[in-house]
């Protein structure tokens, strides 16, 4: 098992109080698994991605653990995390277009970064060039400044750079949201290729675009208001969702929704709850068409099928 996350809790500090961005998240990831992490914006999916590699200034690790390849990740300890970053956990950030220092040639920046991490640029350069060519870039980009590359090229450079040290876990954070449809597909395929070629062992693909992640993920997790509400093989989530929120999310999806034939696009009425003081019981209750008395209690985690878990009172086994 590559990654085992237990009851992870991360809070966001604001002037109004702590926002419970991750409120008891548990899941595991197999070697070679690509898991898609979906949900509306503000549900905590980006926080989950960040907390596995680097909490930003206002995030606080409150509880829970993450074990990667048998070693616990020191999530709350920025300094101790540093040794694990890039080599064991890596990220392709949302902002790939601006992730490279604009005043350094890409090759020079890579060399300086590698040297700072105690690696030799010279011995890794061959591999770097090979991987750049794999994504359709020539060695010449190393002599370019970021501004000389197109958005798609920068994205590919960042993908190669992030995975250069063959990390166990890669977090791809909304990597396709800034791209057009053709590029989206290419990037998604590249992610799969990286996994297949062993550049990364397992991968968490954070996205709000279910239809895209469906094409590449083995497993999909759906988050709502700081918690995972449903986890199952990708096919199952789309074809036979159990949680009312997942169903609504699928219903709100144009492309995949079409596969259902007469299933029409419908948006989910209402807004997710505020996470300053999260409500007790099921958090989707207020927007849920099926909500009843029992939903005021914490919903149970129901295993409906092998690898298919739902946190809902209404999930019939």
């Amino acid at each position: 098992m590559a990654l085992q996350v237990e009851d992870l809790r991360v809070h966001y500090r604001t002037t109004k109080g702590d926002v419970h961005a991750l409120d008891g998240v548990s899941f595991s990831l197999e070697d070679g698994e690509i898991v898609g992490l979906a949900g509306e914006s503000g549900c905590g999916k980006t926080t989950l991605g960040k907390s596995l590699i680097r909490l930003d200034g206002r995030m606080r690790h409150v509880g829970g653990s993450a074990v990667l390849d048998g070693d616990e990740l020191p999530i709350g300890d920025d300094r101790a995390m540093n040794a694990r970053r890039w080599k064991e956990v890596s990220i392709i950030p949302q902002y790939s277009m601006s992730a490279l220092n604009p005043t350094r040639k890409i090759g020079k920046m890579t060399a300086e970064l590698l040297r700072a991490r105690g690696k030799s640029y010279r011995s890794l350069k061959g591999e770097l060039v090979r991987r750049l060519e794999l994504v359709g870039l020539s060695e010449k980009v190393l002599d370019n400044y970021p501004i000389e590359l197109s958005g798609g090229m920068k994205q590919r450079v960042v993908m190669v750079l992030s995975t250069l040290l063959d990390p166990s876990l890669l977090i791809a954070d909304e990597v396709t949201s800034a791209l057009d449809v053709t590029n989206q597909k290419a990037v998604a395929e590249t992610l799969v290729k990286f996994r297949d070629m062993g550049f990364v062992k397992s991968m968490i693909v954070v996205t709000h675009d279910l239809s895209l992640v469906y094409q590449i993920a083995d497993t999909i997790m759906v988050m709502y208001a700081g918690r995972i509400v449903e986890k199952s093989p990708a096919e199952t989530i789309i074809k036979a969702p159990k949680h009312p929120y997942t169903k609504a999310l699928i219903g709100a999806l144009p492309e995949v929704g079409l596969e259902y034939g007469d299933e029409r696009l419908k948006s989910i009425p209402g807004k997710p709850p505020h996470l300053l003081e999260p409500p007790t019981g099921c958090r989707f209750r207020d927007r849920c068409p099926l909500a009843s008395e029992e939903c005021f209690q914490e919903p149970p985690k129901v295993v409906v099928d092998e690898g298919h878990e739902v946190a809902c009172w209404k999930a019939e086994v």
């Binding site: 500090r13 604001t14 002037t15």
Partner: protein
């Protein structure tokens, strides 16, 4: 319509929130207090002290005392009387000079940014020219030709030469705002350019405009003080700059009459410094990210 109503209540809420945080921000509170206190001194002071600050009323070069709070000049003028009158001129120059620069900068910036094309090329060129022109040197030449110089004339010529950076910034921001959806919408509904600029674009950079106005105000005061010090101050009024000039001209340094040159410089530093600090505070208010740090 309902969406518009929601939008409006949201901006109102935001404004109230800004005011709330502005009043609670210590930098804004301290800065504004200093500025207002000295303004009050400049407004009220002259009413209670002799109307003519140039009048020879007492002993010469006397140190501060209960009678003459800031002492007297080489000629026996009351330094405190000159000081409060000088404050008045400084605020006037700041408000008027800064105001003129603000209006010009805004007009040029909005026009260039909104119209684009050749108009923009032309205005941008002028802006860049005035930007590299060493303003003080030009002001010196112009003022020296004036036979009679007043606070107002001084403020006007200062205003005429200190607008370019505002124009530049406003132009850049207008560029990014003019293609937003709500601006397009306003254009489609047939609103005219000035109306769109006033109603749709300006409110979205209000915080920035307020802060530039404050900087221009402070800048005009400093400019005026330098002109006054070279002897190009108002010929009919006292200013903080002319006080320093006079004290140097009548060898205050060697006579040790420090009370003549310390208060005016200190007042300028206090006003301008307080304005800058207010600006830092406002920045924290308008950028919640800074507020939370």
């Amino acid at each position: 319509m309902s969406a518009e109503a929601v939008l409006q209540t949201e901006t109102v809420g935001k404004r109230n929130e800004h005011l709330y945080f502005a009043l609670r921000n210590p930098k804004v509170a301290i800065g504004m207090s200093v500025v207002l206190l000295l303004l009050l001194a400049g407004l009220v002071g002259p009413l209670f002290i002799s109307a003519d600050p140039m009048e020879y009323i007492g002993p010469k070069s006397e140190a501060p005392s209960a009678d003459y709070w800031f002492g007297t000049t080489y000629f026996g003028q009351d330094v405190f009387a000159q000081f409060v009158h000088g404050l008045r001129s400084s605020y006037l120059v700041g408000a008027l000079g800064g105001g003129i620069a603000f209006v010009i900068g805004l007009t040029v910036g909005f026009t260039a940014g909104y119209r684009g094309g050749l108009v923009d090329e032309f205005l941008n060129m002028i802006t860049n020219v005035v930007l590299v022109l060493p303003a003080l040197a030009v002001l010196i030449v112009i003022s020296s030709y004036l036979e009679v110089r007043g606070v107002v004339t001084q403020a006007v010529i200062i205003g005429l030469f200190s607008w370019p950076w505002v124009a530049r910034a406003v132009r850049a921001q207008t560029f990014t705002l003019r293609n937003r959806d709500y601006v397009d919408l306003a254009r489609l509904t047939g609103k005219r350019a000035p109306q769109i600029i006033m109603r749709e674009i300006m409110p979205n950079m209000a915080s920035y405009l307020l802060m530039s106005m404050i900087l221009l105000f402070g800048g005009a005061i400093l400019f005026a003080a330098m002109l006054d010090f070279i002897g190009l101050g108002p010929s009919n009024a006292v200013s903080l700059g002319t006080m320093m000039q006079q004290s140097m001209a009548w060898s205050s340094l060697h006579l040790g009459t420090w009370w003549w040159f310390v208060p005016p410089g200190l007042a300028i530093t206090a006003i301008v410094g307080a304005l800058y600090i207010t600006n830092v505070g406002l920045d924290e208010v308008f950028n919640p990210k800074l507020r939370e740090m």
